[in-house]
Structures are given as structure tokens and as C-alpha cells.
Symmetry: D2
Subunit: 348 residues, 4 copies
């Protein structure tokens, strides 16, 4: 059994981790950290687990807690800026850690500091962190100690772009990603813009050209393409709970055909359990992945305009957060990669 | 391995059966009947199972098909009126059958004929059918051949009422059940009243005092109470995909207290895996059961008015249809009752 | 021109008042009070009025503000407990006031204090307040100074019950009202239970037998029936922005027929512009009134059970709050009763 | 009084016309054509107008009906392909006609025939039709007989692009428009993809690079820019009733600043009642225009990427269909342009 603890267990990503890990046959949850619900039953804020998870939340001081000694791995679902200390302590105690925040995703700390407007206090640890986009960095992940679990938008965009960039079919500059996200992506944060009546019957874009996932996406595009990268990224909020749909536009600089494109993606992804390719005419939709760790990808060569359009769909809380974290944990502990993640999507 | 076939596999209840059975480790799906999608890939109408279920739909003639010989059990998710022949054929071939339609729920065929406005052509077979409300009729179900899987509304109402009626705390007459259902309860029927724009941002009642689930509910109330029964039942359509919330009102004829009530329900249900009781002040909500086979029940004694109010929540497609069918199958084949049904609800 | 000021103008009910009054040809808005958005453009929190309402919010001290001298009427959309001072000041200055809070609805101050758990500091002024259920108290309203605008749930329930009680067709005790409300009814309050992801894909009941609208509803039932009253009232939250549907159950003690019932309601309401009756078989739905001041009412005599069921639908922010307030203002100033309220509902 | 008739009055665009015209003080509705609801009360399918619109639908044979002689103007909300005969008859009788279908939008009939896969049988009449994008073609519209009312997506995209193209700030080629639409855009068509349970909790793209609005958009871009045009257009379906948000990407070929851009749009649109510009940082959202004829536009110069992003929001049934049609009618009859369209958006 793997003993696991969760820091920040009562946000939506944390709660999804709890749901997945509590059903994972090889995992034993040792602690559920929460500042907001300290000393409360976990099922007070999350009654869906009533009777099936008998645990009390505890606000943990990472420097003092002996609970850390009891676990093999820590999942850190704290807000950005708060996981650096946790990572330091885990490393010092020889524990694996999967960090769901952005703190260890961006390899250049000055870039992190610029976009996140805070200093980075674990620059040394940052060097050893592996970017946990499982399908791409599988081998590195297996032997790492600190995994920086990717952001939800980046996951949906990078898996969609990887074959195109590796094959040099599109340029690493000038890509446009127009993403639409369900509201759970904003977390369980109690703020005006997350209210039902503000979000329901509404569509809006936000942070155009300024979203913090931009440096993360560009870093990986550059890594895939082995040259400098830039992306125009626009997130939108749409009225559903779960799901991200990313529609990605790039110039078809080599003039590949629809047939070529499907062939190329097949080569890259045909053995991937969690990536499902849609062929000509078919497009993925978020309902098709809701409640699962799948990433569905559709492809379109528009001969009229000379553009390639890739559409990808994920469940933002699973493949975009907790599910990919479990997938990474499975790699770390030599389990079947889909262990605890076999659940099929719900339709409707 | 249990070999199973599904008649009517492309309605929403059928599709939920397919999802559950395809993940059930002891079940092998042998055929997926569908008139609408005959000869099409099952994943055309249900892309959420893409790559994970490689089956083609087939329109089956129940009288001729040899496919029936290959299975141990048939799930029948056909519209009302169409499962009588299927049951006859299954019985004649010695197959178990779980019928999700109303055809075998109502023991008095004349009552069936009155409410469903059609004749019943399997009156003999009706006699041997067992009403598949698992928690109540568990022992009978184990040894039955034909199981009449309960309706979604009746499941939510009857599990909520059972202890009250068995203990004679309320009268079997004059009960009011005000139920609210998500739109998937209407199935994947292509009709004006199921259109998104007609249902979204709308609440409406329908079939007040005339809904076909009324005789089914009254039959069971009478059985529990061992006297004649009547119910005022009002279903409402509310804009969500999954979930039924039933709010049930009855006179507290014996003046039980809140404490008594919780105690009584605890006695009846404390060992039930799928029934979760909420104690004082807490109320169930549909989100807490969404995607699961749970039935959550909340209790309220209103001393001011002399009434007892019971609130129950289920996922209409799971505990209200396919999940309870699988639960019944597990009983029939001596499997753990929650086998294939361990999935926790999704929140949010 | 009527000069009007609004206290508490940036909650949802306040904002709806602003929208209605800004389009009312006989009204001139003089001030928009808001603590939260003091000194901000009103269109910051409410961009739907951008370019069409050029006003800045102001946090007003009711005791000192000279703005009060400039107006003929004050609309008070402050939270419960905060409008008592406003009413006192308005009376002392000879201004009309329409209070959308509960502070002046309940004639017995001890009942108010019991249910609202606060003291009432304007008991003298309470005596002269008129309950602003327009269709019922039209004549009294015309000559009043302080109007206590009814609650949203009470409006939907009381208009539905009035003819039954006046005609003594049902008892004033034992009525059950099961109401379903959109989330805007909870206001623009920034709290966990109002978050999109908590409300969407969810149905839940709350405050069963304990909701503060109970004494208000019972007071009016007693007034209509001229005897003591009790109601079992259960509100539910359903995932839409606007709309209340109330399903009301009572014993048909005189055995009226469906025909009688429609006839009786016709007699009471046939000349009411804002009340629309549905005849046999038809039921109202919230979409049919959304964005309007209508109250739609459907009637059902269930001969099988001996019950009468009334279903009513309103837009909670209009007939349930701001619209009825404007309707009352129209009466106070001898305008056409539907002035500024002619807008038809939006479908879909 | 203007006497008006509506062909195809029971689709969603037709129904919105009925709602707007029935409240328009200068308009008298003479007939409501409907094949589906022939001889039925109009309020059967549209109960929101109950008691306020006392008219019966009639299936009209355009060639024989004498009703045409009674009207000054015909609104044609028939499906594509069916309005060509209507236009011919109206012209022959000297009636004005506003056609909401695509039949008269595309000036090159061969292009129409290619994208709509049908022949065009009114090529002569096509020549005299004016494209009814009111703000752009106001003068031409005033004196025209046949107005081709623009599509919903084109309206949202073209108003957003007009100043950029007129000022030659962006190229007429390579523009990307990523649009998100509420489900009412698909009309009240009874088909699987419009079902609530298929659309709710879902986002999907469709017709990428193949949508029939493409030639219409490109025609107008070319007209604005006075050179050949191409657009990459991707529509998406999101789960709300009303609203289109278009996010439009173009290269900032002249390096204009944010300040310049706001200035330019101000010059073009400052006197337009229905166009509202958002300045730096603020972005439009569909809720802000819902229920109104406004088109809200936000602007963003991204200096990091060298792109200009324009975001526009409309209510697809009003500015995207019926509202713009009424706006055009007002022009034709020398009424105030916002007559009958003064209604403010609803929030929330």
C-alpha cells in the first residue's frame, strides 16, 4: 500500500484527488490537510463521500507535522506560492511529492516571478522538478522526486500540439489557442465572479494575453519544437461544471493533408490509453470525457485557408488536475498507469 | 463470467447499463440491441466509450435471434409495452431477465392496462415477476427469474417511505410526494419538450395526479403498510442532466420525535451500502449522489405543523434505473451486491 | 416626473429596480445607494446598463443625506433589519417608501422578532405599513405611505391561494407549499452555497419548516380565511437564474370540480393584467413569466385523491420583488398599473 | 400604423419577432404564418404571450393569400431556400420584405449555390437586395425594398471587424473568428443534437471551416477592405439559451496601440445607440446584452504577440436576428431606430 497525504484537500482539485485516491486499491490516505475545514469531518463540505470516507480534516504545519513521516507521497493542492515549503520539506524527508500548483512548472524562476508576481523560494528544488505531462515525459517522471503537475489549460493544449511540433509541421510561433472552461476550473473560491447567477446564461473571455498559463505553455512548445515559442491564449468561462475544450489554430506550413495528419497523430498516440483520436469529420466534446482521465483530440486540415485546427477536450479536474496526478503517482510506484483511473465518462 | 445482452441499448438507461456492465469485472456483453442505430458502431451515438467498447449495434428479432442462446441474462431497456415478448422468450429459454420497463411492475394487469392504456400480453409471466427494489425485496430477488426493475420516481419515494410505513407511523393514505427530476429522465427521445432551449432556465410540473408511476407507488405503499394506499404525486422537470429529489409529506400520526425518526431509519438501513441517512439539520442533494448508485435520505419532524417530511436523492439513471438493475444482477449471480457499482459520486 | 431614490441598489433586487425604473417614462432616479460599490460607476457591477445609465453609486447615511429631500419616493432594498431607520426617516420627511425587506411585512412585531432573531425598532411605523400584495390590497396601497413589499415565495403562494381561501373551499390549516426557486433569489451574496459549481447540476431543499417567509405566508392566509392558519412550506434551490414555481396542495373539503375551480379563479382574476390563468390540463412554467411581472396560475382538482393542487409561476426578481414594487409605486402615484412593466417575458 | 405579416412565425427567430412587434407601438401584426401550428392559438407553443397576443397561426400559401394585400411589410423567418418565392411575390405586390434567411445575403448566386447546396431561383431579385447590417448599410437600407437580414454569427463578427478593415489596420486574409453560441441559435428544431441532455454540461465545436456563414462573412470583409478576404471561422455550441460571443484574432500589421484602437472604434461607433465599446481591460460578456439589441465590443492589443483581439457579444435572437430586423424596419418607415427595441438587457 502507498501511504499518501494531501495538502489543500478541500479545494475542488484536492477533493477530486480525495475521491480518486479513496477508491484506488493501492492507496491509503493518511491525512487530509485543510485550513478552512480544520477539525471538521471531510464530508461536511463534501457530502458525496458520506459514509465512505471517515476522515477529519486537519490544518497541518508542514514544518512540524509528524504526519509527513507516515506517508510515501504527498499531493500538494495548495494555491500557487504555498507549495514551495512543502516541496523542500518533502525532499528533505525523502518523500515523493506531486505538486498541483504552478510553483514548479516553470523552469526559469525569473519567468515564474514575472508572471506570478511573487518570489520563488525553492530555486534549487525547481531544478530537479519534472513537468508531469505524463504521455510526453513518462520516462523522466518514473524516476523523479518532485513532479510539477501541469495546469488544466496547458494539458489540453500541449497534448493537442505535441505531434505537430515534433514533426515540425507548424511553426512554434503564432499559434492561437482559444479555450473554453467550465466553472470548476476557478476552484471553490468564494468570489463574485464564481456565483451561479453571474456565470449561468453567460459566456465571457478573461485575461486575454495575460493568463499565467502562458509561460508554461510556451516553455513546453519551445521544448517540443526546440526553438523559441509564442502563443496567443484566450481562456473563456462557460456555464458548465466540468470540461475544457481548446480550439487551436496554426498555419499548415508544410501543406499536410487530412490523411497525413491523422496518420501522424496515430503514430504518436495509438498506444496511449488516455488519448483518443477522432478521425475525419468527428470532433471531440467535453461531455465525452466528463468524469474521466481521457484527452480526446480532433483534427482538421482546412485546405481553403491553409490552416490546421486541433480541438481537444478534457475534464479539467481529472486529466487537467487530480487524474493526471494519480497517473503520475502510478508511474512513480510502478503501478499500471490507469490504476484507479478506469472510470468511464458519464453520458449524459 | 456472466454473459449479458441488452435490448434497447441506446436510450439513456440502456447506455448507462452499457457503461456499468462494460466496466463490471464479472460481465461480458454479448449483444447491444438497437433499432435506431442498427449496424452502427455503439460509439457513434455514445462517443464517451470510444476505444473502450468495440461493439456494433444490432436490431434484434427476439423470436429468431440465436444471440439469446449465448447469454445468461438479458437486460431489457425497451419502451413500455415492448418487453412482454422478450420476457416470454427469455423464460422459455431459461434465461434470467431484468426488465427496466413498467411492464412487469404492476401485479394487477387491469391496473396496468388502465394506466398504460394498452393490453398486457404476458399475464402468466407477470405472476412470477419480482419487484426489484433491492433493499426491500432482496431475498425474493435472489431466486427470481424475471425482475421488474422499479421506476426512477418510485425508487426515490419508496425507499424514503418504507420504515415509516412498516412502523405504522404514518397513514398509507394522503401521502404527498413532490418530485423534481433532471431531464435525462425523459430519455433520449427527440421531442419538443426535451429541447435544450425549452428546458434550460425553466421549471415545470407535469402529469399532476396522472403520472404512470402512481399505481406502482401505491401498490408498494399498500404492500409495506398492509392496507389500501393513495398518493398525491407531482413530478417536475428541472434543468439538470441527472438527479431526482423527492420531497415527501405525511402526517405524523403517532407524534414521533426527530430523535425517534432517525433511530427508526437507522435500524432499517444502517447496514445498507447504498442508503445513506442524513441526521438532524442536514438534507441530501442530488449532486451528492450524481454518478453513483446511492440513495441519500434526510428526515424532518416539524413539530409546529405535525408533519413528517422525508427528502430523498438519487441519480435517476443509476439507482433509478441501470445501477439498481446491476445491483439486482449481482444478487441473482451471488456477487457482492456493490460489484461494478463502487464508483463514488462526482462533485461538483 | 416622480423622483426616486434606491437604498441598497446593487443587490439583485435593487439592480432589477434600477433596470425597471431607468426605463420608466415617469420616473427620474435621483440616487443609487450602495455600500459595496461606493463612488463606483453603477455599470461596473452591472455592465448590462453601460452607456444607458450614467450614475455613480453612493453610500448614503440615511440620517444625514440631503438626497432624501430631493425625492418623492424611496425604494429600500437593504437586507432585513436595516430598513427600519430608513422608514422612520422617510415618514418624518413625508416621503413615500416601498420596503423590499421583511421588516414591515409582519404585523405582529413579536412574531417578526422570533423568526428574524432581532428586535424591531420601528413598531409604531409598523402599524401603518400596508402589505403590498398589489392584486389583493390595491385600495389600501393607493393611500398608504409605507408599503411592505411581499417576499418572493409568499407572492407566488398567496396569489395562488387567495380565491380558495376567500371562498372557504380549503382549510386554512394543513396547506402544503413546495416551492422551487432559481438562484438569484439568494441575491448577489458571495457565499459558498451560491457558487456556480455548488448549484449547477444540483437540486436541494433547505430550511424545511423553518424558512422566514412562513410567518408572512401564515399571516396572510389567516387574513384571507379569517381564521388561524398554518402552512408546511419547503423551498428548494434549482439551477436556473430566475423563476419560482410553487406547487400547493390542499384538501378539497367542499368537493369542487375542475370546472368550478376555473370558474372561481376567473371571477377573482379575470381583470387582472398581471395574473394569467391556465385552464384544464395546462400548467404554468417559469419560462413563461421570465423577465416579466406576470403571475401564471394553473389549477387541478384531483378527484382520485380529493386534493386541489395549484401551481404558480413568477419571476422572483420582478413580480417577486422589483416589479411588484414598481406596480405599487404606480398605484401610489395614480399611474397606469402596468406602466414601466409592459415588457413581455423572454422565450426561450 | 405599419401593418406587418410574419412568415415562419413559430421558430425561435420568428417568435422573437412576434414578441418585439407585438410590443412595438407603431406596428400592427396582421398574420402569423406557421405550417407546424396551423389553426392553433399562437400561445400554444409560446405561452409567454398568453392573454397578450390573441392570434391564431395560419399556414399561408404565399401565391394565393390575400393576407399579403393587407400588409406594408413582410418578415420572412422561413428556413433557407424557402424565402425566394416570398420575396418575388412581395416585390410584385410592392411590399417591403425583410428576409431573415440566408437566401438574399450572398450577392454571388453561384457562391450561394455552392455553400447551400441548392439552386437560387430569384437571381434577379437578389441584385436589388441590401445586406441589412444596420450600422454599416444604414443609408442603403432606408431606400431598399428587399433587406437580407444578416446571420447571427456574421453580425457579431462584422461589427467587430469593420473599423479595423476600413482603416486597413489588419489584413483581409488570415482572420480567425472563434465563436460560441447559445443553443437557441439552432432554432426550435426537434433533433438529437438539440436535446437538453446532449447540450447541457457540454461544449463542442462544429462545422469547422465549413459553416454556411463563411461566404457571408468573407463577402463583407472583402467589401469593407476592398480586397479579397478569407476567414477561419469556428462555431461552438455552449450550454446557455441566448448569446453569441465571438473572439476574433488578427495580425496587428500597422502596430497600432491599445490607445489608438480605442480611439478608432470610438470614431466609428460613438453615436451608435446599439454598439457599446469597452475600454482597456474590460471585456463584454453575453449576459450584458441578453434580451437586448446591443452589440458589446471589447478591444485588446497584445504587444507581446503582435496580435489584435476583438471580442463581441450579442443576443443571437435579437441583434443576431429579430431585433436587427426590427431596427431595419424602423429605418424603412422613418421611425426612431431604437423604436420597440429600448428594452434593457436582463441581469442576471
Amino acid at each position: 500500500m502507498i501511504n499518501a497525504g494531501i495538502l489543500g484537500s478541500t479545494g475542488y482539485a484536492g477533493a477530486e484527488l480525495v475521491r480518486l485516491l479513496s477508491s484506488h486499491k493501492d492507496v491509503n490516505i493518511k491525512f487530509l490537510d485543510s485550513r478552512t475545514y480544520d477539525k471538521e469531518e471531510y464530508t461536511n463540505p463534501y457530502p458525496h463521500l458520506k459514509n465512505k470516507l471517515d476522515k477529519v480534516c486537519k490544518s497541518i504545519n508542514i514544518f512540524e507535522s509528524e504526519l509527513l513521516d507516515e506517508v510515501d507521497i504527498v499531493f500538494c493542492a495548495l494555491p500557487h506560492g504555498l507549495s514551495q515549503d512543502a516541496v523542500k520539506v518533502c525532499i528533505s524527508k525523502g518523500k515523493k511529492i506531486i505538486d498541483l500548483s504552478a510553483d514548479f512548472r516553470i523552469k526559469d524562476p525569473s519567468l515564474y516571478e514575472k508572471w506570478y508576481k511573487t518570489t520563488h523560494n525553492a530555486k534549487e528544488e525547481l531544478k530537479s522538478a519534472v513537468y508531469g505531462l505524463t504521455e510526453i515525459y513518462r520516462e523522466k517522471i518514473k524516476s523523479s522526486t518532485v513532479i510539477a503537475n501541469p495546469g488544466c489549460y496547458p494539458t489540453s493544449i500541449l497534448l493537442a500540439l505535441y505531434p505537430l511540433l515534433k514533426e515540425n509541421i507548424i511553426s512554434s510561433k503564432g499559434i492561437i489557442a482559444d479555450s473554453k472552461s467550465g466553472v470548476s476550473g476557478a476552484g471553490r473560491n468564494i468570489m463574485d465572479s464564481n456565483l451561479f447567477s453571474q456565470c449561468n446564461e453567460n459566456i465571457r473571455g478573461y485575461s486575454i494575453g495575460e493568463h499565467r498559463h502562458i509561460p508554461e505553455i510556451e516553455q513546453e512548445i519551445a521544448a517540443f519544437a526546440e526553438e523559441e515559442a509564442s502563443i496567443q491564449f484566450t481562456p473563456h468561462l462557460v456555464p458548465l461544471n466540468r470540461g475544457i475544450l481548446s480550439t487551436i489554430y496554426a498555419d499548415n506550413k508544410k501543406g499536410v493533408t487530412q490523411y497525413d495528419l491523422e496518420d501522424i497523430y496515430g503514430n504518436y498516440y495509438k498506444d496511449e490509453y488516455f488519448i483518443r483520436l477522432f478521425s475525419r469529420g468527428e470532433l471531440p466534446q467535453t461531455k465525452g470525457v466528463s468524469g474521466s482521465n481521457f484527452c480526446d483530440i480532433g483534427l482538421k486540415v482546412d485546405e481553403r485557408t491553409g490552416k490546421i485546427i486541433i480541438v481537444s477536450a478534457i475534464d479539467n479536474l481529472i486529466k487537467g488536475a487530480a487524474g493526471q496526478a494519480v497517473q503520475n503517482m502510478n508511474l512513480l510506484f510502478n503501478l499500471k498507469e490507469n490504476s484507479g483511473l478506469e472510470q468511464m465518462p458519464l453520458w449524459p
